[in-house]
């Protein structure tokens, strides 16, 4: 009877503990990176008014994190607006485009859609920098890091702060 009392207490505690929702740690870290990109990259003058548009292609767990970020943060004085594109064909003007790994094979469509635009293209699959991405998330020793292509940034008239370069894996 006494033993049962202890076991019942233990079970009630354990069950309370296990009801926690899982938390997507990787998406939060990527969202923090993304916000920092907006701080250390300069867009041309004509991009500095109105909403700061973050485009996301397809479904990704990062979307909800970016929406949360947009609710509390601004880029300079620009409110952040997150837009989800159903596919790369639907891409319209945006300051930053995130192309999830699942959409990596549509990279060329994205590049075509954003030709001549000062859009920071962020991807998360190896090799996409060589296809035109300016920043590509990579995992090194379990850690989230990012590759940065100065050439691709330059082609899109985006200026990168040296602080960001210092922390990046600069690929060219």
């Amino acid at each position: 009877m006494k033993k049962l009392l202890f076991i019942l207490i233990a079970l009630s505690l354990f069950s309370a503990e296990e009801k926690k929702d899982p938390f997507d740690t990787n998406s939060r870290i990527k969202a923090i990176f993304m916000f920092n990109f907006t701080r250390y990259i300069n867009w041309p003058e004509n991009y500095n008014s109105g909403d700061f548009v973050v485009g996301v292609v397809g479904e990704t767990p990062l979307l909800s994190e970016l929406v949360k970020m947009a609710e509390t943060k601004k880029v300079g004085n620009q409110p952040i607006r997150v837009t989800q594109f159903g596919s790369t064909n639907d891409i319209t003007d945006c300051h930053l485009l995130f192309l999830p790994e699942e959409q990596a094979d549509k990279m060329q469509t994205a590049i075509t859609k954003l030709k001549g635009k000062s859009t920071l293209i962020v991807t998360e699959k190896k090799g996409l920098v060589s296809q035109g991405a300016s920043i590509n998330f990579v995992i090194i020793d379990n850690k989230q890091k990012f590759e940065l292509s100065k050439n691709n940034l330059k082609q899109r008239s985006l200026q990168v702060h040296t602080n960001l370069e210092t922390l990046a894996i600069v690929v060219d």
């Binding site: 505690l13 354990f14 969202a31 923090i32």
Partner: protein, 300 residues
């Protein structure tokens, strides 16, 4: 009704065990304070009984007699039941009753031994139950002290008792209480206490599934909470440092969760824990492996 019956039985016991002369002589000579206390006890006048037995306990001639001690123990046990049971879990009356009963046992007062043991058994059980209740309400220190008292007095009642399993159960609940309190209050000290307690449990029994799982989850949750609390504008240098720290916590969680998995490969919570750790370590291959195992489990 029961109480009256126990007094009658107690009286019969006294008479039948050679105290008859002492009791019957009460009619012809002045009663001492222990006898007066006993008489008041029979009439359920507990306040009077307490007054007389306290006086008796100051009287060097009778204070250490078996009769005085057992009457004192009974009075204080009844006072505990009347005034303090369920109200004061650090009841002084209970301790008084136990100490007097303990002296009866130590003095091997054969006439009163059964009664003393019954009192000790009953009150030690109340100490155990109070320890459990206190633990559940987060009053860990008092729970621990009541549990220690329970062990002390139970060992007098039954010196052959092995407390190893009970100690283990107590520590398991203690660790989970610290965890729950940490989750509610966010106090890092509580987290450290929970981790320390689980490590102590595993030092006793490294094969305990629950302790392995929970220690793994503690490290995992610590890292998750840290990431969850990061603001979006945290500086990249700081982010890098915090990432490193979180990775070290996920890696600390891993061996415990793997051990829990080895001990019980079909426990869903462990599989979820493992998949979560590998996901956070960006080890996609292993995350997918355990995710698949969870799905398989769901299909069964």
């Amino acid at each position: 009704m029961l109480r009256k019956l126990s007094y009658i039985l107690f009286l019969v016991l006294l008479i039948s065990t050679g105290k008859a002369q002492e009791v019957s002589s009460d009619f012809f000579q002045k009663k001492d304070n222990a006898q007066l206390a006993h008489a008041a006890l029979k009439e359920q006048k507990l306040d009077d009984a307490k007054k007389y037995i306290d006086l008796a306990s100051e009287d060097p001639e009778i204070k250490d007699k078996g009769f005085t001690l057992i009457v004192r123990s009974t009075i204080y046990k009844d006072l505990y039941k009347l005034d303090e049971k369920g109200v004061n879990r650090n009841s002084p009356c209970r301790i008084e009753a136990l100490n007097s009963a303990q002296k009866v046992v130590e003095k091997k007062e054969v006439d009163f031994l059964d009664n003393a043991n019954k009192i000790i058994k009953y009150l030690a059980q109340t100490l155990y139950n109070d320890a459990a209740t206190m633990l559940n309400s987060g009053d860990v220190e008092n729970a621990k002290s009541n549990y220690a008292l329970y062990k002390k007095y139970w060992a007098i009642y039954d010196p052959t008792t092995n407390f190893k399993e009970k100690d283990f159960q107590f520590k398991l609940v203690e660790a989970s209480v610290y965890t729950k309190m940490y989750e509610q209050q966010g106090n890092k000290e509580l987290l450290s206490l929970a981790q320390k307690t689980y490590r102590e449990i595993l030092a006793e029994d490294s094969l305990d599934v629950s302790a392995n799982y929970h220690l793994g989850i503690l490290y995992y949750n610590e890292a998750v909470a840290m990431i969850n609390n990061m603001d979006y504008d945290v500086d990249l240098v700081k982010l890098s440092e915090q990432q490193d720290f979180c990775i070290s916590l996920f890696k600390q969680a891993l061996p415990y969760m793997k051990k829990a998995y080895t001990l019980n490969p079909t426990r869903k919570e462990t599989l979820i824990g493992l998949s979560g750790i590998y996901f956070s370590l960006n080890d996609t291959e292993k995350f997918e492996l355990y995710k698949h195992k969870i799905e398989e489990l769901g299909e069964e």
